[in-house]
Symmetry: C2
Subunit: 723 residues, 2 copies
Amino acid sequence: MDFSSFLTSLATSFAIFVVLMFLFTWLSRIPANSVVYYPNRILKGLDPYENGSRTRNPFAWIREALSSTEEDVVAISGVDTAVYFVFLTTVMGILVLAGLVLLPVLLPVAATGKIAVDKNSTSKGAFTELDRLSMGHVKETSSRLWAFVIATYWVSFVAYFSLWKAYKHVSDLRAAALRSPEVRPEQFTILVRDIPPPRRGQTRKEQVDTYFKEIYPESFYRSMVVTENKKVNDIWVELEGYKKRLARVEAVYAESKNAGKPEGTRPTNKIGFLGLSGKQVDTIEYLNEKINELTPKLEAEQKVTLREKQQASALVFFSSRVTAASAAQSLHARMVETWTVMDAPEACQLIWTNLPKSFYERQIRQCIVYVIVFLTIFFYMIPIGFISAFTTLDNLKKLLPFLKPVINQNVIKTVLEAYLPQIALIVFLGMLPKFLLFLSKAEGIPSKNHAIRATSGKYFYFSVLNVFIGVTVGGTLFSTFKDIEKNPNSIVSLLASSLPANATFFLTYVALQFFVGYGLELSQIVPLIIYHLKRRYLCKTEAELKEAWAPGDLGYETRIPGDMLILTIVLCYSVIAPVIVPFGVIYFGLGWLVLRNQALKVYVPSYESYGRMWPHIHTRILAALILYQVTMFGYFGVKKFRFTPLLIPLPIVSFIFAFICRNRFYRFFQCTALEVACRELKEAPNMELVFRSFLPPCLSADKPNDDHFEDALPNVSQSGSFA
Amino acid sequence: MDFSSFLTSLATSFAIFVVLMFLFTWLSRIPANSVVYYPNRILKGLDPYENGSRTRNPFAWIREALSSTEEDVVAISGVDTAVYFVFLTTVMGILVLAGLVLLPVLLPVAATGKIAVDKNSTSKGAFTELDRLSMGHVKETSSRLWAFVIATYWVSFVAYFSLWKAYKHVSDLRAAALRSPEVRPEQFTILVRDIPPPRRGQTRKEQVDTYFKEIYPESFYRSMVVTENKKVNDIWVELEGYKKRLARVEAVYAESKNAGKPEGTRPTNKIGFLGLSGKQVDTIEYLNEKINELTPKLEAEQKVTLREKQQASALVFFSSRVTAASAAQSLHARMVETWTVMDAPEACQLIWTNLPKSFYERQIRQCIVYVIVFLTIFFYMIPIGFISAFTTLDNLKKLLPFLKPVINQNVIKTVLEAYLPQIALIVFLGMLPKFLLFLSKAEGIPSKNHAIRATSGKYFYFSVLNVFIGVTVGGTLFSTFKDIEKNPNSIVSLLASSLPANATFFLTYVALQFFVGYGLELSQIVPLIIYHLKRRYLCKTEAELKEAWAPGDLGYETRIPGDMLILTIVLCYSVIAPVIVPFGVIYFGLGWLVLRNQALKVYVPSYESYGRMWPHIHTRILAALILYQVTMFGYFGVKKFRFTPLLIPLPIVSFIFAFICRNRFYRFFQCTALEVACRELKEAPNMELVFRSFLPPCLSADKPNDDHFEDALPNVSQSGSFA
């Protein structure tokens, strides 16, 4: 890519960014759109605008974002969001501190390096301005390379310093949140799995109750055995579906009273397959009939489930936070694979179907999933190529004949023919996060946020290995692998020699990500369009409307790997082509600004893990740093620098640093420190509420007492189990 | 070593064994010796002989050893001893099961292998009977080698099976012992280290008490802050010394009354340097004076120590076993390096000076000690060679002139000249266990039995690396290292090709160890002679006499590495020269028998760790197995067997097996499972006794109340601290 086309794409991205900013400023003023631009504030009952004024400065959002404090973020969006901002500031800090030395020192050194064309230049042979500012411009074995060695050390130490401070800071955030005097149900609960079979004549509930009462005679409150809920859940989902449809149909009926005849048109539907055939019935009556039929069926099934479908897992409630925190860290049974105990996640985060899976089953599943992920990362082009070859237009015509009239139109035909192979790849990459999330849940992980962290990790490795290394060495890992097999030591020099040639490509990639990416993020164009379409054509009830604009959460499973990929790119190029450092700073700076606005006004977190993702982010930043150090080592070798071995200590120091950080900080993220758990609570906890918050929706009753739990309670504990 | 000299050394060892057996049978009948042969029973108040009869069958001890059960061993000698016997039986089981297949199958295969002389034969070229029975006798690339491959797999799987069963069995032993309804003080106690500096105006005791009272308001009983005891300990040791001397001198005086003049000779001594100069005083008066002088000084120093020399470590007592067990496993403070908590070892096992060492200090000390051990293992011949060169007779004469008359005698001169170099080596090897124990304590380990386990590990590596590998490749590791540096892959083939040549040497070594070694063990000749010498010439009081025959414990720090070395040798030769397997069986079988007798009658355990050494023994057996598998792989390569890669899975399977065992079993050996700790106690624990049992002897008072602790107690907790 030569310099002029680089400037062109840069300018195009900037233009798109300006357009999107303008759209944002204009659209966000329209009151009808405020549910798209300020849903977080609206859901909390605040006004969209802080001062309620209609005449808002178009740049007020910037001022508000910059003046918000971390406590504001924690209050409005939770600790996890605050931790994400710590991540952004840390990375920005690393790049700024690195840039402060790299840019003034390395750019002159490189620019005055030499004049002849170098085939390893940053522009694949075309001599450009950028070349003169990169390391490729320095002669081999030149003593100017000393500056680059010092720069590599400087970047590494800046990274260690920033990461150490950040880890401490996140640990403080976590402690402050966990010390909260609020009563949070999950702090009183532990999750027990791998319960061995009960003795003859003893139900699971009796077994769990006796076991824990013996160990904790004073603070044991109650237990809830996990039950096999498939059947009762199906009934419940069906019932809820009918209730929703009834609400919708009644709204349509009410509307029709206003629109047409005064008594309105009673809606009807056919009850056959997909509503396309069968007897015509009055919908409202039909739905009411169905609801009345299913409600007692649900109650009966609830009783049966609680009594007979108990599984080898349970939630145990304690009346003291300290006991729960201490129990979650202790070994209860001799053999590690029975009576496994851990902190309970939030009630809405439990993946109920994963709870009964046994210890060894989880280990085996994890191994299988790792193998599948490994195969996916390295060999994903094979099935895609296969699908591309298979999905030619002729084959499609044969398989799906009803699409013929669509396909036969000339315009669509040419487009499809040109893009069909790439479509398979695009579809794959779009579905990849969902596929990885499915795999993470299949490992047997008990909570959703843990599965999201696992997905984020898998996606990170996919991105870095395929996008970064794959693009750099010109092809996929699979084809590279064949080269590497012949000589395993060549991977470093292969990487090092092809990195500089792709610098311009990655500069453009980073610019595109922050201009177009954050532009779309702030302007929320796509969600806005979807919302208006839904409002106009699909929503009939208030509830449906609320669902239409309901915002998601920040979506860490794709956001963090995306940020990490940019970081990896910028780090690896920081010494080779230092011009990329300002681009990285702009990416993370602009990201901080835009996402501050989004966190305060748009996104609503769906869970709170109190910063549990920070250790994983930390480890991956160090992985990117080690990749960078190894690459630099290879590149100095390519440059035939005599003192290249001076760089060998760096990856070793990184590993030692990672080890020290893990030993010092990580345990607090795995479990709760007792000095934090023993803080006084605002009020004595209402254990009954704590218990109820963990009931799966399909098992909860509308009645205020829980009579239907009596069948599941052993007679002994009935008197003692109410707080 | 040719066959006839092998038979000669075998016969000599057997002869020594027979003589020692005879000595044992004769000497153990003499009642005056019963304190040497039955001290364990005597200390427990039992009769030396079970039926008290004087006319004992000389082989009664064998019958008693064979008919004793594991429960007997646990009752008389503790769980650790029972675990040691599990080790012996496991290893014996592995060798017997292996031998059942190896001997009938491999010996005929090897014997009918070929006839020509092989330079890799087991006797370094001399064709002997043994050669025909070893793997060296099989032609290269012969298909007979298949039998040896199958034999290698058989030995490995027998080992896995036996180790799995043994681990389970030891885990059961530990659980049964921990469930005991006896009150053991250490089960109510935790050891807290790395306490951060207290707030201004707060003493350490107040700090510790407030901290733990906040977390455990109900079960916290009391705390004992570790103090800097050097000065008070010195005074106490001096005082105790005087008391002992007084008792001894009074006994001498009483004896002299009977022997000479009726009023007796009052003993006198000079009070100068080493009792060789200075004023002559009446000893009894002098000692009484000293004691009266020191006793109030001790009490004053005790007060000062308790009040002012508090250090950053404490013992915390709980009134509930479950709370203590759970607290030992929980994270108390956010940062892992403050308020570190662990199970308290037995009171007598605490290494008090190591308790205040901080977290990072311990890590650094551990690193330094590991480096020193590494250097010792690989480079120990350098200082020894240096010392040998230095300690020539002439140099000795110059340095220690007072030895001249001794050295100048001709006989001694020739002996010394011949053996002086080896003497340095022998002295070094004799001091090595003590040196390694010193290093282990220097790591900062808080309990003595843990330090002993660490020493055992270091000594094991020293033995195997230097004795086994060093002897086999003909020289020390240091010289071998140079060869290996040139080609790192040659170590395996180097080992493999030199192993068979040393088979006869090791056969003799094993035979020597069990004939002479266990013969000396059973007959206790050396302790007997020392006891009688002491009784006759040194002991004057009852207490001194009791000390003279006081037995030690089994001495695991040298015993287990010794056994492991034999196991490594036998395992590595099991397929190469299967004749060694019966020797191994005899070693462990005879060892079991002899040590059963010793455990029941002689040795008294000095600590009880409830089998904590088993995981370390298990890991080292697997290390020996992996060494064996790798060696076999190398040897098959030397034999140019086409299917050698078939052996590659074996070490991998061993690692996976070690990983699975660790995951499943190890946690119970690190901490106490709560279901075990919550068993009912025989009686409510007397917490005051529990507290007192942990007082260091220099701080305990003879007075029945502990008034002198009041200065160290904060006013708040005084009312609540008595059970």
